[in-house]
């Protein structure tokens, strides 16, 4: 497995509070990696460090070959990010949003043009190129938001609860896009509260109180915790949390 994310005892302290405590793991190229944990377990802090947005207190991490202490700008160019709160501009059209993000990531006009056609085609949004994003249904926005997050062909894309609030059919169509991107070699790092989606990942880590309490394929985790479903695995681990935000 060629690792594109490597962390070694990655730690973040805020005063006395250890948000992330010695996280060590690897994520391989083209892998769909589920990053689970209860509210308050430290997921967001970990993601912010991996995206080069927050300096770790100690430990090491390399993202797409770049160091999280010294090469954060290079990391930002090599990754995509999408959260449930889409970063699309409502008052720009579909095509304008693609052009905007292409520009932000330093693509030239020709590349942007080609990419726009490719994306509209893939999403079957050819007829909506001139539609304002505010007029798109939620599910389409979500798919567009994902496509825009990988417009610059990043090695890794971070998805922070990408499927909140959509209907079950749209949710599954979204996962088809994820599989498709992973097939093309994009590494997917995803957080979710839907435990059935944890099953769609190649491997899953579960954070409890700032540490990685378990990490393996869904099948192995279910075996290890003698559970029928990932929901049960999660419940067994997360209910022991002392610091969850309750």
């Amino acid at each position: 497995m060629q690792a594109v994310i490597t962390t070694d005892k990655l730690t973040k302290r805020f005063g006395d509070f250890v948000a992330c405590n010695e996280l060590s793991f690897e994520v391989g190229k083209g892998e769909i990696f589920g990053f689970l944990g209860a509210n308050g377990a430290g997921k967001t802090t970990a993601m912010r460090m991996l995206c080069g947005l927050l300096k770790p207190s100690s430990g090491k991490a390399s993202i797409a070959g770049f160091d999280v202490y010294t090469q954060t700008e290079k990391i930002k160019r090599s990754i995509g990010y999408m959260s449930q709160k889409f970063s699309l501009y409502d008052d720009l059209t579909v095509a304008e949003n693609i052009r905007f993000y292409g520009g932000i990531y330093g693509m030239n006009t020709k590349e942007i043009k080609a990419k726009t056609i490719e994306l509209l085609d893939e999403l079957q949004l050819q007829n909506e190129a001139k539609t304002l994003v505010s007029d798109l249904p939620l599910g389409w926005k979500q798919k567009l938001s994902f496509s825009v997050s990988i417009v610059h062909n990043p090695e890794i894309v971070f998805l922070d609860e990408p499927t909140g609030g959509v209907d079950p059919v749209t949710r599954r169509q979204f996962w088809d896009l994820i599989y498709h991107a992973a097939d093309k070699g994009v590494t997917i790092f995803v957080t979710t509260h839907y435990m059935d989606e944890a099953e769609y990942c190649n491997r899953v880590s579960i954070m409890v109180d700032g540490v990685i309490a378990a990490l393996d394929s869904p099948a192995n985790l279910k075996k290890q915790f003698n559970s029928e479903s990932m929901e049960e695995v999660f419940y067994q681990l997360a209910r022991k949390a002392t610091r969850s935000d309750n």
Partner: protein, 322 residues
């Protein structure tokens, strides 16, 4: 304050004698926005019995929040009528506001007041005290009481949720409206929240709750599956599952995504979706008998197939496709 209704319009009294078992009733409710260009809900009718835990299940944009706002008298419907606790949402809005609790989807308490100050504020507004109704909120409040001097704006998601529920309950409402209380909340906290709801229901409070999580549907007495402003189905979870029109199968193999593509390409497949570590599929009459051989011929290994009982999510997907 509740005494006011005695000298109020006869219509409310008539209604309550005819439908004394009903806590909430909607008749042909329609609401549009943006000069009628956007239809939020169209011709919605359903009722909720007294003491019932009723779930509105559907994705964002289904119209759930619009219905909550109409029922809590914060928004006027374009068409139709609605009653809450025997009161008309238009004529008797003041009575309704006194006898319902509402927890909006967006956190709406005072960020710069502490936990205790927020709770005190809502108690005072409704002419009561924390002490008077402490029994009702005790189970929930003890969990946040150690932080009662912390400002609401500084609380974590789970604590905000519990405080909002306490504030919605402090005047001992007859009907409780909870708009997506568990959205964005982890699986453990969601489970705890539903246990709190069960205890409230046991005290006789009628609860209308909305959620985008289909697995929570089973915890309701009855549910309405709602999409794009229309009700797709309304019944007990068990009856909705019973009414699934076909035999449902679960398929499993070592490579789920390949299996999904191959099952979808199989001519005898009616529908197929990923469900956790397996696929759920329905087949045209008799076609299930040949499917395993077909999948093996396409190079899928360790293919297993078995009949299963549908979940609410299966039913919702089926209804969306119709």
């Amino acid at each position: 304050m509740k005494g006011n209704n005695e000298n109020k319009a006869g219509s409310a009294e008539e209604f309550s004698t005819v439908n004394s078992q009903l806590s909430i009733e909607l008749n042909g409710i329609k609401k549009t926005y943006n000069k009628e260009t956007v239809t939020a809900v169209k011709n919605i009718s359903f009722s909720v019995n007294k003491g019932e835990l009723f779930g509105l299940i559907g994705p964002d944009g289904a119209g759930k929040t619009t219905l909550f706002r109409i029922l809590t008298t914060l928004l006027l419907a374009d068409e139709g009528t609605a009653m809450v606790n025997g009161f008309d949402v238009v004529k008797d809005y003041k009575q309704i506001r006194n006898c319902v609790g509402y927890m909006p989807g967006k956190f709406s308490l005072y960020q710069d007041l502490t936990i205790e100050e927020n709770l005190n504020f809502f108690a005072t507004v409704f002419g009561t005290t924390i002490k008077q109704n402490y029994d009702l909120i005790k189970d929930i409040y003890v969990q946040i009481e150690p932080f009662k001097d912390r400002r609401a704006g500084k609380l974590s998601g789970g604590m905000k949720q519990k405080l909002a529920l306490c504030c919605a309950l402090i005047h001992k409402p007859d009907v409780l409206f909870l708009d997506e209380p568990t959205t964005g909340v982890d699986a453990v906290s969601r489970k705890e929240f539903w246990e709190m709801l069960k205890r409230l229901k046991a005290q006789g409070i009628t609860i209308l709750v909305s959620t985008p999580y289909m697995d929570e549907a089973n915890l309701c007495d009855r549910i309405a599956l709602i999409q794009k402003g229309e009700i797709l189905s309304i019944d007990t979870p068990a009856k909705i599952i019973e009414s699934f029109p076909q035999q449902l199968y679960a398929l499993h193999s070592s490579k789920t995504y390949k299996l999904l593509q191959d099952v979808r390409n199989y001519g005898g497949t009616d529908s197929c979706f990923a469900f956790g570590d397996s696929l759920h599929a329905t087949f045209k009459q008799g076609a299930e008998k040949e499917v395993v051989a077909y999948l093996q011929s396409k190079g899928n290994e360790d293919v297993e197939i078995k009949t299963i009982t549908p979940s609410i999510e299966d039913c919702f997907i089926k209804l969306l496709k119709n």
